[in-house]
């Protein structure tokens, strides 16, 4: 058997299968042998080459997406209350779910890379020239479809990352003149993001786009077969057959792609093994952020890395307003695509072909550069040394950032001012990067906490994981505290390095471990009670409590060491935060009984504080019944001027739970409860810490 090129035909599948009666029967009914032959015995002019593999690897990647995507589909639920939850289930609870999702996620990224390589090869080899123009255009359509699938897929887990990136993308679509707002509303499925955004994105991602892609892929491959492979010129080697020579190269390339994809998925496992840590399958493959929350700012929002260049490109037009965004997000990318569509026409001339090559390389290089710039900006603080800008920071602080004053401070020296402005910009860049890195860290914490909560034995309530996160003291407490309490109160471990610095800046007590033994010991320590961590920066600095601790409480005739210990122990017991302090059972009861007597004693604590049945009136000093308990904390945060707390001597603390007429409470009752629970450290902790939860108790 010899074909036109004089090569002997290689052994084909029919030979392997032998002329068995089954294959004969099947062939007579279907003619499959001819089909297989025509599929495999395509002539490759100049022989098989590595540069031809990209198209095949793309088809392979697409098939991987179809296989993994279909099974993901079988477990995914597209709604605002179930999308994150079902993806959580796939990733953390389903057997092999992490691998399935990891493959889908990483292969999607591989596909973008393969696309770039394929386009580059076609343009450089001039494979778009007559008669293959139409096929080039089909290829460009395929490229847009793949990018569209990448974009729509990013939203489906409905986590913070996908949610905010998609908001930006859809808002940009709204910039198109005239029809923009309608397009946006159609894509989003209404005026706001929710169930229908997900159902629509899912229909696009798993239905409309892949179906269209298959149609275009069939056309693309048909035309490819019709015109044959465009050989790289000049041809130096003899022709070969598609099977097995080119197929071998294609298959090796596919295997390499898969190896890289698996490598990316399994890398964290390898790292864990090397570090001697347990491997958590849920942490492999694609990550899952915290559930999407429109009320929760997300400063770590970035598109997927292959769209990062567009993100960065938009910054070029910063300051141009909506026109700039329209230019950057729509006109320039649109024009680029337009030029690409015209490439086969330009390519008719030698110069045009050169232009195409230069253009393609320039676009890819530009995209690469923009990506690098974006990454550089985001991660700048990792290598930039902020301390080198201490003088700049100081000058800005001392002048309040006022340009005139700065100029004066620099001795009205233009040169110096230039240098200063330059360094100031660098400092700003470091700060921005620090903020981004902090946001990324916070996002990781939020995500692992959400996963931890979803893994509780009670599972996720039908209201969704977001409601779990929103009612979690550990997730909400620090944020509420930072917003409402931190301007006065510190919350920092007194042994921390910068603790004193923080205390000095605060105007109320440090609430770290409030109600616990360490806090009570500090309160009753004459050296500390008047310090900045307790009453030092408040109106109570010279109050009765401070003088009591410094004078009476230190009087060893009046207060024996055992008595002091009993009071401390009892106060902590009152807050319900006693931890294994050694005393157990009856011993514990005895100490508490003694402490209670001492506290209630109207010659001691009870002379000011109402406690048990000592009949001291409310209003002079805080009620010590249930001191530090959740109920007590809720009470004082709600209204510190309540009879139980400081009706006359409240020092600047707002009444968070009391609304002025017709107004709203500064904090809702639910929020007050969350802050109280957080301060007391009462939140859900998984029984087994093997889940490798990275959430620390005191973030």
């Amino acid at each position: 058997m010899r074909d036109a090129s004089g090569h002997s035909e290689s052994p084909g599948l029919d030979e392997v299968a032998g002329g068995s009666w089954i294959s004969n029967w099947l062939d007579s009914r279907t003619g499959y042998r001819a089909l297989v032959r025509s599929a495999l015995y395509e002539r490759v002019p100049g022989g098989a080459r590595w540069r031809y593999v990209w198209g095949s690897t793309l088809v392979f990647a697409f098939m991987t997406q179809v296989i993994t995507g279909l099974v993901l589909w079988a477990s995914y639920s597209a709604s605002a209350q179930t999308a994150w939850e079902s993806v959580y289930y796939i990733q953390y609870e389903m057997t092999g779910g992490w691998l399935l999702r990891g493959l889908h996620h990483v292969m999607a990224q591989a596909m973008v890379v393969l696309l770039a390589l394929h386009v580059m090869q076609v343009v450089i080899d001039g494979a778009y020239r007559a008669p293959r123009e139409v096929n080039f255009w089909l290829g460009l359509v395929l490229m847009m479809l793949v990018l569209g699938m990448a974009l729509t897929g990013y939203l489906l887990p409905w986590d913070q990352k996908g949610y905010w990136a998609t908001r930006v993308a859809t808002n940009l679509a709204g910039l198109v003149p005239l029809v923009g707002p309608s397009i946006q509303q159609l894509v989003v499925g209404g005026p706001d993001y929710g169930h229908h955004t997900l159902t629509r994105f899912f229909a696009l991602h798993a239905g409309f786009l892949p179906a269209t892609l298959v149609i275009f892929l069939v056309l693309h491959l048909t035309l490819f077969r019709k015109h044959g492979l465009h050989a790289k010129q000049p041809i130096t080697k003899p022709d070969a057959m598609f099977w097995p020579d080119q197929v071998l190269k294609d298959a090796v390339a596919m295997l390499a792609v898969m190896a890289v994809v698996l490598g990316v998925i399994l890398m964290p496992a390898l790292r864990a093994i090397l570090a001697g840590e347990p491997i958590v399958p849920g942490h492999l493959g694609a990550e899952l952020g915290a559930p999407a929350d429109p009320s929760e700012p997300y400063a770590a929002a970035r598109p997927e890395w292959y769209f990062l260049f567009l993100f960065q490109f938009l910054k070029v037009f910063e300051g141009w307003g909506a026109t700039g965004e329209f230019l950057g997000a729509i006109v320039v990318p649109g024009a680029t695509l337009g030029i690409m569509f015209l490439m086969p026409i330009f390519g008719q001339w030698k110069l045009g072909h050169r232009f195409n090559i230069v253009f393609t390389i320039a676009i890819l290089a530009g995209a690469g550069l923009l990506t690098a710039m974006a990454l550089h900006e985001d991660y700048y603080a990792l290598w930039a040394d902020r301390s080198a800008f201490a003088d700049v920071e100081k000058l800005i602080e001392s002048t309040g950032g006022d340009d005139e004053k700065i100029f004066a401070a620099l001795g009205h020296d233009k040169e110096k001012l230039n240098v200063f402005t330059n360094r100031r910009e660098k400092l700003e860049a470091i700060r921005r990067s620090e903020a981004f890195l902090a946001a990324v860290k916070q996002a990781a914490r939020d995500s692992s906490r959400a996963v931890e909560l979803a893994g509780r034995p009670e599972k996720i309530p039908s209201t969704g994981a977001l409601s779990l996160v929103r009612s979690d003291p550990l997730s909400q407490g620090p944020k509420l505290f930072a917003q409402h309490c931190q301007s006065c109160h510190a919350h920092i471990d007194p042994t921390a390095e910068n603790a004193e610095e923080v205390f000095a800046k605060s105007s109320a007590a440090n609430l770290f471990e409030f109600g616990r033994e360490s806090w009570v010991r500090g309160l009753l320590d004459p050296k500390r009670v008047g310090g900045a961590a307790y009453f030092g920066n408040t109106a109570h600095k010279e109050g009765d409590m401070v003088s009591f601790v410094c004078e009476d409480f230190t009087d060893e005739d009046e207060w024996k060491q055992d008595d002091k210990e009993a009071v401390i122990f009892t106060l902590v017991a009152e807050s319900g935060l006693l931890q294994g302090t050694g005393k157990k059972g009856t011993g514990r009861k005895k100490v508490i009984k003694r402490g209670q007597g001492l506290i209630a004693d109207t010659d001691r604590c009870g002379s000011c504080h109402p406690y048990r049945d000592n009949e001291t009136e409310l209003g002079y000093a805080p009620d010590l019944n249930g001191w530090g308990s959740e109920e007590w904390l809720v009470g004082i945060i709600t209204d510190p001027t309540h009879q139980r707390f400081y009706p006359d001597t409240n020092d600047r603390m707002p009444r968070f739970g009391v609304a002025s007429e017709g107004g709203l409470q500064a904090l809702s009752n639910k929020q007050i409860k969350l802050v109280s629970q957080w301060l007391r450290g009462s939140w859900y902790r998984p029984a087994v810490h093997s889940q490798a939860s990275s959430v620390r108790d005191h973030p």
Binding site: S8, F60, Y89, W243, A251, M254, E458
Partner: protein
């Protein structure tokens, strides 16, 4: 003659190399396709790993709520339920008929799930029997089969307990339908 030979062996060599190339190509391609297929099958078979857990006794009602005249009454079975990622607290997860032997404290509990194909068996008070609306299986008030019946067995009775204080609880279980033997689902 020798020329012919060397040409033959050259051709043989090409064929041999082609064959090898083909084998390696198929191997590589197969290996590359393996991960997605394995992941897909692995994840797809996940439901086989799930079980509804061991049957437990669930509180049902108070003895006083069960008619003393031997007439069955329907009660919902309330329990916490997990549906994949969602946890429901104290939800109706099924229904049973509870019947007290006339004048005694002996209680019998019948599952309302039809042993034929799982429809909800209804109590036909007028006719004094149970009836399944799907394929018309009838059962006596004791749950016994009324021939001819599509149902292969009588209604499934469930283990139950009555506490001293009169609280009735039931061991909630599902059984395979359509077979003669009463086999509990895992």
């Amino acid at each position: 003659m020798t020329e012919q030979l060397s040409e033959d062996s050259a051709e043989q060599e090409t064929r041999r190399r082609s064959f090898l190339a083909g084998v390696v190509a198929v191997l590589c391609g197969g290996l590359a396709t393996l991960p997605p297929v394995v992941a897909a099958v692995w994840a797809f078979l996940d439901p086989l790993q799930r079980s509804s857990g061991a049957a437990t006794f669930l509180p049902l009602t108070d003895l006083t709520n069960v008619p003393a005249d031997g007439q069955p009454r329907q009660f919902p079975v309330i329990a916490d339920r997990v549906d994949a990622w969602t946890g429901y607290q104290a939800e109706p997860i099924g229904a049973v008929y509870v019947k007290r032997d006339e004048g005694t404290e002996r209680v019998e509990v019948l599952s309302a799930t039809c042993p034929h194909a799982g429809c909800f068996v209804e109590l036909d008070n007028a006719a004094g029997c149970f009836r399944c609306p799907c394929h018309n299986s009838s059962f006596t008030l004791d749950g016994g089969i009324v021939a001819p019946s599509p149902s292969p067995r009588s209604m499934d009775s469930l283990e139950c307990e009555v506490s001293k204080a009169g609280a009735v609880s039931v061991k909630w279980q599902n059984f395979y339908t359509g077979i003669e033997d009463k086999v509990a689902r895992k």
